[in-house]
């Protein structure tokens, strides 16, 4: 992982000496001027929230979480009464400590403590449709008012574990981004963000059978350029990725439900049960009936 961040601006991120979770159902409209941010997660516990990150508007609904990186700017404009924003900012040292210990192990950290080693976490900076992260943030809101024994300890561990998952995702994203044949790191990052946003969108809308044009529009790219870039990043075409995604979803449905093959085809957006069965067997080596819940 590169040890740089914030290459486009000279913004100095604020230092947080602890984790901070802000969550409140607004009793009146709320605004906050643009200010520098450190690493955090933005979401809406209920309703729909608009966060402006680096000047761009991001609408977040349930199950959507925006990962904001250090050195970015955050503003809140006209958040309406009744909306329930939730913002979790991590202890400023935690991201690098987690990254460092995952990379080198705890013992090295003791021998070779770092002082000025900011890793680049910006590969995750976008909206993630992730019910798991969303549920974790909601559980932290509950823990804040909990009378459970050792609630603070639970919260600390939950945040640490959440961030470990994010660090691994960031590492994976970084590896994928390195497949992009671009000279400048900033260009690579920008292309990667657009492609991964389209991939996330595809994962949320796979049932409707999104077209190449739909995906390219989400990525704000020309469709041929998008196709080329997607293949570079993930070593697979968007169409192949979509088929694979549908087959994995079908396998989950077979394992966890009692739906018929036709129902499953319909649920995942496959028109032909025959071609589904052929592709399924090719992908998993066994017919769909083998995975049926007994």
């Amino acid at each position: 992982m590169p040890e740089t961040f914030n290459f486009r601006s000279e913004i100095t991120p604020p230092v947080y000496n602890d984790h901070f979770l802000f969550a409140e159902q607004l009793q009146r409209p709320y605004e906050c001027p643009e200010c520098p941010s450190n690493i955090g997660l933005l979401t809406a516990a209920s309703g729909s929230c608009h966060y402006f990150v680096n000047g761009a508007k991001n609408q977040l609904d349930q199950d959507q979480v925006f990962f904001i990186s250090r050195g970015s700017t955050l503003a809140v404009k006209s958040m309406a009464k009744g909306v329930y924003p939730a913002l979790l900012f991590f202890h400023s040292r935690l991201p690098d400590l987690v990254m460092f210990s995952l990379q080198y192990g705890g013992e090295v950290l003791l021998e070779k403590p770092f002082d000025t080693l900011p890793y680049d976490f910006s590969y995750l900076e976008r909206t993630h449709v992730d019910a798991g992260i969303f549920a974790t943030i909601v559980s932290l809101i509950d823990l804040g008012a909990s009378s459970s024994s050792f609630a603070a300890l639970q919260a600390d561990m939950t945040i640490r574990s959440l961030f470990e998952d994010l660090v691994l995702k960031n590492q994976e994203a970084y590896k994928h981004s390195q497949n992009i044949q671009a000279l400048k790191a900033a260009t690579r990052l920008e292309i990667f963000k657009r492609i991964s946003t389209a991939k996330d969108w595809m994962e949320a809308h796979y049932q409707g059978g999104p077209t190449l044009e739909d995906l390219a529009a989400v990525a704000s790219m020309n469709s041929q350029h998008f196709l080329r870039m997607f293949k570079q990043v993930y070593s697979i075409t968007p169409h192949q990725y979509l088929i694979d995604l549908k087959l994995k979803k079908a396998k989950q449905l077979l394992e966890n439900n009692e739906l018929t093959i036709n129902d499953i085809c319909q649920a995942i957006g496959f028109e032909s049960a025959f071609s589904f069965s052929v592709l399924f067997k090719r992908r998993f080596g066994l017919p769909p009936s083998h995975f049926r819940r007994t």
Partner: protein
């Protein structure tokens, strides 16, 4: 007249509970995963090679441990290291914020006393609020449960995984 807080008093706290049991039993309740699991949380002790110790095996200095909810074994809430284990009456481990918790077991007035000291706590306002107060509350319940389990077998912990925000978990 308003009294100023002496922050140095928040660096550690001590709790004592009298339990009608032997020193050996009380030690096992802390130093073995089966013992810890009977009154506190699901515990795993691993030796310095990373090998999990069996349920009744006593943890040794340098072991690592993980604690999880009994109702949700996948939810690890604390990991740390065994700092001292003399095999008889002294057991210490790192706990919240890495601060040491030291258990001393001794006799007093013909009873077995289990003494817990959580020390080296930072004295910033947030740590005091979350860890000094939070951990004291947590340990009071669990030490009460330890007494109950060792004396009569009644386990006061919440067993309903769907029930949240109760002091019994």
């Amino acid at each position: 007249m308003a009294q100023e807080f002496d922050l140095s008093k928040f660096t550690e706290f001590k709790l004592r509970v009298n339990v009608n049991t032997s020193i050996e039993n009380a030690y096992r309740a802390w130093a073995s995963s089966a013992g810890v699991g009977s009154w506190f949380l699901r515990a795993t002790y691993k030796d310095q090679d990373g090998k999990p110790r069996s349920g009744d095996e006593l943890a040794q200095e340098g072991d690592e441990y993980a604690l999880a909810f009994t109702t949700r074994p996948d939810m690890v809430i604390c990991t740390g290291k065994v700092l001292k284990a003399n095999g008889r009456d002294l057991f210490s481990f790192s706990f919240s914020k890495g601060c040491p918790v030291t258990i001393s077991i001794y006799r007093e007035q013909d009873e077995t006393i289990i003494q817990l000291i959580e020390s080296h706590l930072p004295t910033d306002e947030e740590t005091i609020r979350r860890h000094f107060i939070g951990d004291t509350k947590g340990w009071i319940f669990y030490l009460t449960n330890l007494k109950s389990v060792l004396e009569g077998g009644l386990d006061l912990r919440n067993k309903n995984a769907e029930l949240k925000s109760v002091i019994t978990q």
